[in-house]
Each structure stands twice: as C-alpha cells, then as structure tokens.
Point group: C2
Chain length 477, copies 2
C-alpha cells in the first residue's frame, strides 16, 4: 500500500495539453481519453473486490495517524460565533469508508470545540466533492439518516446517525466549486497528489521529456520529472487560488496528500530504495506493460503513451505554492512516514504470495482501472494488464520480506483576511463594519485577529492582512 494507491480521485481534467499545443505524436487513444478525463477518471466505484470502497484501508490508516494533527488545526481555527451554520467541504471525497468517517470526525471535534468554549453550536453543512465520474449514488445511499435535535425526521434514528446536512458537489478541485467566501472548513484527504493532466511532453516522442517504457516518473530522466513537477506546481497553485476565493477569512484548510521527504530529489518519489522498488507504480507495473507488448497484445506506442498522473511533492514545494498564493497562513506542515501494511498482513502474504499479488492488483484496480480501460479502449485488455501485474507482484517474493513505507504530507492553514474595499459601495462598508464587530468579539481566537480596513481609496483595493500587518484604520458607518 504505497503512496499513490492511497489516493482519491482528482486526476486529469479539462482540455488535454495535447490538443492545445498541437502535438499529435502519441497514440489516438491517449488523445481521446485525456481530452475528456474528467468524465472517465475516478476511483473505481461500486463495492466489489476491485472497488475503491474495498481498497481504501491505507488512506484510512493515514487519515487515522493524522487525526491529532486535525484536532490541533480545529483547536487553532477561528470560532465563527456569528454564523448559524458552518460549511465544510471534503475535496476529492471518493466513495468509501473514509469519506464519511473523516467528516464525522471533523464535525464531532468542531462540536467539542464549541462546547468547550461554551459557544452555541452552529449547524453543519458538509459538501462531498469529487469529479462527476465519482460514484455519488453509492456515497449518497451510504449516508446514515440525520439526527439533529428539532428535526422533523420520518426516518429511523440510529447510533450511526449524522449531525450535518449533506450535499454532493461534482467537479474538479482545480476549478471553482463553491460560491465566493462561504466555506469555513475545507479538507482534502489523499487526493491532491493526483495531477489535473499528464504533461504533453512526456508522451511526445520528439521531446526530451518523453517517458519511454515507464508508466510513472520514479527514477525517470530529469526532463520527465521536471515536466511532472511543473504540472504539479501549476495544479497546487490553481487549487489554492480557487480555495482562497471560496473560503471565508479565518477558515481552515486541511490537506493530507501523498508526498516525499524533503531530502529526496523528485526523481525519487518514494522515501527509500525498497519502497520505491516495491511501489505498485514502478517495477511490477512496468513489467506488466512490457508483458502485454511481448505477447503482442499491444504495441510499444500504446505502452509508452500511458502515464500515471501522480506526483509526490516535498514540503518545500508545498510551502512555495502557499507562499505564492499568499492567501493562507500555514499553521503547521509535516512529512510523515506510514508503514504500507501491518506485520500480520506481511506474515500472511509471505505464507501466500499469490494472495499478495491479488491484493496489490486490487489496489491498482481501485485507483487506475477507469484510466487504463480508457487508455486501452477495452475492459478485457485492461483486465489482461491487471492479471500480468498480479503475477509480477506475486513473483517478486524478495520484496515481500521488506517492510516499506509511503510518505504523506499533512498541512493546515488559515485563510487570511482579505478585503476588496470600495467606499463608493455602501453595502461593502456595512458588511465590513459587521465583520469588524464579529472580529472584536472573537479577538481571543488564536488566529485571524488582525484586520486591515482601508476605505480612503476611491478605487476598489485589495488588502491582505497577515500576522505582520496591523489594523490601520476603521471607517465606521
């Protein structure tokens, strides 16, 4: 259970750069599926052995490990005392055990915070967001009935009832998903290492960044890795820019994504040689594609044009994107190493390597099946690929004895104060006056207690207040 297999679904959205830049060197299928990837890519739906719902224990364990971090974030965020309801978004929610439990945990701890500080609890609205290709039907049908005091519920109440209003939001988190300035909390768990698209150069035979014979970038040539790194940087910036617009000042952004240690160069996407070698996107994956070529089931071009759109960032890369966005104050950022599986599981697999192969293949199915099916244009052929992968993974018995790790980066940040002020528009001043009063009331909150207001400028002006800024002026009504 290495890095990217823990991922939820936000890969490859919108117009493929292949179209934009006019490069037409790669296979026809590649052009077709990358152009409309937001329609086909997702974690595998349903709940059979190859579904994401059945293969998301690894993200669950990463999320569990990071829970103290989330609690710290909640305890440091601003309490929105004036608000009757808090809006929470889970970005890249997928469909599985993690989807609901993460939001349940979040709401539970927010409620505790309000309770501890003797502040009236607001209502909660949870927005589960993922690509339109995500299986929202299964997600919606797994929602327990609501249990909120005063509700006129016909439905049975149960221990597993939920304490928030739920909605699903279809779309890519690299675009705007919500109206301006209304989100109080946004979390993204095991999703942001999926890129919005595959860089065109890595599938261009004439480019130095052509990624021949590899499905991913670990240990790839410098140019390939750079193309990925650049796309990854653009994506994270787009993500932060959209969230900056959607989130209210003082709002909490909490991200958990697959990542690499700062010490590692990007061509080493995983933390150590063993973890790299054992990762399902590296050796076994490349061998499986080669098998298909050797057996004459696909040609080399088809193999070479398949690339996995995932990138493991370092803390430094994440920090850089936050700094450039300049709309958030990072509260804490950390790299953590998570064992790929339990000791018991490892011992079981050593006794039965075939079951190890099956498990690993199901993990890959859960995350890559829709993508590989689209690339090969055939579910039968894609199944052949997974079979080769299963055999290759099971045969690599030497690796079975190694305990490997995947890396995650966890970060939380607070949306800075940010005003577009125009003294000509009376209504803006009104709402700022209101916000100022709210702010004064909340002045003991650890973050978000400094405000810049500037009504002297006749043109709309954007002022961003960071911890270093001071309140300059306050124009009362």
């Amino acid at each position: 259970m290495d890095g990217p297999t823990i991922a939820a679904s936000q890969p490859i959205v919108g117009i493929s750069s292949v179209d934009i830049d006019g490069h037409k060197k790669c296979s026809r299928n590649y052009e077709k599926w990358t152009a409309d990837l937001h329609r086909i890519l997702c974690m595998q739906g349903g709940d059979d052995d190859g579904s994401y719902a059945r293969n998301s224990e690894a993200p669950a364990s990463a999320i569990d490990l990071s829970k103290p971090f989330l609690v710290e974030a909640i305890n440091r965020m601003k309490l929105f005392r004036g608000e009757s309801s808090l809006r929470i978004a889970d970005l890249g929610c997928a469909t599985g055990i993690n989807t609901l439990s993460a939001v349940d945990f979040l709401v539970e701890n927010l409620e505790k915070r309000y309770s501890n500080e003797s502040v009236k609890k607001p209502e909660f609205e949870a927005f589960f967001s993922d690509l339109p290709s995500n299986d929202f039907n299964t997600l919606f049908r797994s929602l327990p009935p609501m249990n909120i005091k005063g509700l006129h519920q016909h439905t049975r109440s149960s221990i597993n009832s939920r304490r928030y209003y739920a909605a699903g939001v279809p779309g890519s988190f690299y675009d705007r998903l919500f109206s301006t300035g209304k989100l109080h909390v946004a979390i993204s768990l095991s999703a942001l290492h999926w890129m919005s698209k595959i860089p065109v150069a890595v599938v261009d035979k004439n480019s130095k960044a052509w990624n021949q014979g590899r499905a991913w970038i670990d240990s790839a040539r410098k140019e390939v890795v750079e193309a990925y790194a650049e796309q990854s940087e653009q994506d994270l910036k787009a993500f932060l820019h959209c969230r900056a617009e959607e989130m209210i000042s003082g709002g909490l952004l909490y991200i958990l994504m697959a990542g690499r240690p700062d010490a590692e160069h990007p061509e080493h996407q995983l933390g150590d040689p063993d973890s790299r070698a054992k990762h399902p996107f590296t050796n076994s994956m490349d061998e499986a594609w080669d098998d298909l070529v050797t057996e004459g089931l696909i040609d080399e071009e088809t193999r070479d044009s398949f690339n996995i759109p995932a990138y493991m960032r370092s803390i430094e890369e994440v920090r850089r994107a936050f700094n450039q966005c300049n709309a958030f104050d990072i509260g804490r950022i950390e790299f953590q190493r998570v064992p790929e599986h339990s000791k018991e599981k490892q011992e079981e697999w050593i006794r039965d390597p075939l079951s190890y192969g099956r498990t690993k293949a199901n993990l890959v199915r859960a995350t890559l099946k829709p993508m590989i099916e689209a690339h090969l244009g055939s579910s039968k052929l894609s199944e052949e690929m997974f079979k080769r992968f299963e055999t290759r993974a099971a045969a690599d018995t030497k690796m079975l004895h190694k305990t490997c790790y995947y890396g995650i980066i966890v970060v939380f940040a607070i949306r800075k104060l940010d005003f577009y002020c125009n003294p000509l528009h009376h209504q803006y001043q009104m709402s700022y006056a209101q916000r100022f009063v709210d702010l004064q009331r909340n002045r003991h909150d650890p973050l978000g207690d400094i405000i810049v207001l500037n009504f002297s400028n006749a043109n709309p002006k954007r002022s961003v207040a960071s911890s270093d800024d001071v309140m300059t002026r306050f124009a009362e009504e």
Copy 2:
C-alpha cells in the same frame, strides 16, 4: 400522459406505518419494501426507453406552460441586495431534461430581474435534491461546465454552460434537507403529489379503508380516499414546515404539482370522466394486475396490497395546509388543465394503437418500475405486469379518440418575516439591526417590506409578521 405519470420522485419515506401500528395483515413483500422505500423508490434512472429521462416530456410541457407564472413569482420576490450569493433548491429534481432546464430558466430570470433593477448580480448556488435512490450520477454527468466570469476554469466553455454552482442533496423533502434560514428560492416541480407513504389502512383487510382490487384511489370507496387525503395533508404540512425552517424571510417557494379541480371530490382524482378512465393508474392498471392473478402469476393478496402513493390535491386543500403552517404568504395559486398530448401524437397513435400501448407502458415504467419491482420481488415478474399493461392500454381503442387532460396546481408563496428574538443575546440584535437596514434599503420590493421587532421581552419570543402586521418597535444598538 396523465397526472401522476408526470411526477418526479418523492414517494414513501421512512418507517412504514405498518410497523408503527402493528398491523401485519398485508403481504410480506409489502412490509419489506414500504419499510425502506426511500432506498428503492425513484423515477427510473438511466436513459433507455423506460427511463424517466426519456419519459418526461409531459412534466416538461407542464413546466413550460407555467413559466409565465414563475416569471411573475420572480418579479414579485424580494431582491436580496446584501447577499453575495443566492441559494436555490430544486426539490424532487429527478434526472432528465426538466431537471437542468428548470433551474437554468430560474437563474436566467433572476439575473434579468437584478439587471433590470440595476442591482449587482449575486452568484447562484443550485441544490438538486431528491431521494438517495435517484440517479444522481447521471444528473451530475449531464451538467454542462461552468461559465462564470473570473473563474479559473480548465474546462471548455460552451453555449450550454451553466451560471451557477451545482450540488446534489440526497433526502426526502418531507424532512429537513438544508440548514436553517439559508434558502432564497425553493422550487418543486411535478413531485409533491407523491406521498411519503401508503396509509396502512388501505392495505389492511380488516379495515373499512381496505382498497381491494384497485391500485389507486380514483373512484374508490370513501374510506380509502379519506385515508389517502389524510396522509396527503400530513405530508404537505411536513413539507411546508421544513421549508419554513430552511428558507430566509422574503424567500420564494414555487410549487407545481399534479392536482384536481376544486369542484371535484377527492374520489375523482382527475378532472373529467374520460381523463379518469384513460389515466394509466386506473382501468388499464387494474386490468393488468387482474391478468397476473388470472394467469396464476401472483395471488390476490399481492395484487390488493399494491397501492400507488399519489394524491391529487385541490386548491382548497393546498390553501388549508399553507394557512395552518402560517409561515408563507401565498402570492398566487391556480389550477391549470394540460392536454395529455399533442393532436399529432394522438393521430399517430390512432393509426398505430400498439405504439400507443408501448408509450403508455414506458411512462408507467418510468415512474412505477422501482416500486413494482420491489413489491413483486422480481424484475421478471414486474416486466410481465408492464406487458399486460401495454396490451390492455393498446386494446382500449375507444379511449384513443378522446382528448384527455391532466390537472396541475401551481402556487408561489413568500416566506414571511420570522424572528426568534432575545435581548440577552447581543449577536441576535446585531443581525436584526443589519437585516433592518437591508430591509429599509429594499423597501420598494413588493413583498416582505414589513417588519416586527420586539426586543423588550426577556424571553425568546417568536414574532411572525404578515402583511397585516406593522412595525412595532426597533431597538437600535
């Protein structure tokens, strides 16, 4: 295309009264499927011949006919000048051509209103709500890309782009779906004539209200009809109560539902004898069930325990529920008669009665298939039922020459002002002060311009302001 076939999906939610009241006289299947109906009932998903998406021309024509009514409602609602975004809910949205076009039309006309009155346009958030059994996946995948100025969209823009943020909300509209006081507009199109459950008495052999040998209530005995009417009344009250809590003062509630003329008693669910006889829930339906019994495919108990949970209200019944709720001012309410199909279609069917039978059977499939499958416990058996229905409908050539109608009730209402005031809570006064300023600013809006504020009472106090009330006092900060 008679009344209930135009319906979207909100039937039968929660605990069946069969469980509550301890009556165990009806068939086992009945108990099973009614207990969990919110999990199985919906308009038929997908897009094949029997899907709701392919059989929703009738609701489309009803919605088209009522568009001037909706425009009037929009022009009479309060403009929310202080709000940066308007929240719109489509309750019982189903999945089909109507779902998106209704919200598109609504947003377009709201934008016009803001533009005409030179008020800055807000953003729009559209919430598509239906039971969790609705096919949200198909709905989400049919959403065109967003096209909002200033968005960082990767997706292609197109003529069919949408100008609102979209979300799906799974749940029954007879329960709370949204947080308190945040909805600006709620519409429900062709959905509210579906009841939350089947009254237990109509499937109880020992009850006077036992509805033997009939699938629906048209021309049924008085007790049967009364049981339906009572359930329908409870449902509408629950619906209005929930919306009253969710909607902001001045918000617009717009409902289009199947209904009957005021002059008709409830046992005459359709407006005239021909329309009643031709309705897909009456003669052909009962004959088809009888055929299954005669052929030995089901027993009488199975036939008798199936009831269609739809009720056509009169304007008087709708008014009564609004009056009892006392949270809305009705702007206008009307009954309209809509021809069941075009003259061309009728002539085509007279030439080819078999195609008429097929069309009619597909209409019934689109609305009742999940329910009938659950009742019979077999999709094969349910298909046999639809085949009998098709044959019976096609054979009734006499009716083919009659032009029939279905009835709809259209109503729009404005959420009254409604405050829970407590002078001990400073923050409440603040927000009322703010609202008062908003209100003064909007004082030329035709509705919602009268306010009651009472801060003199030390206990929380609820004051509802209707058009007859006056502003009594305003306690400034």
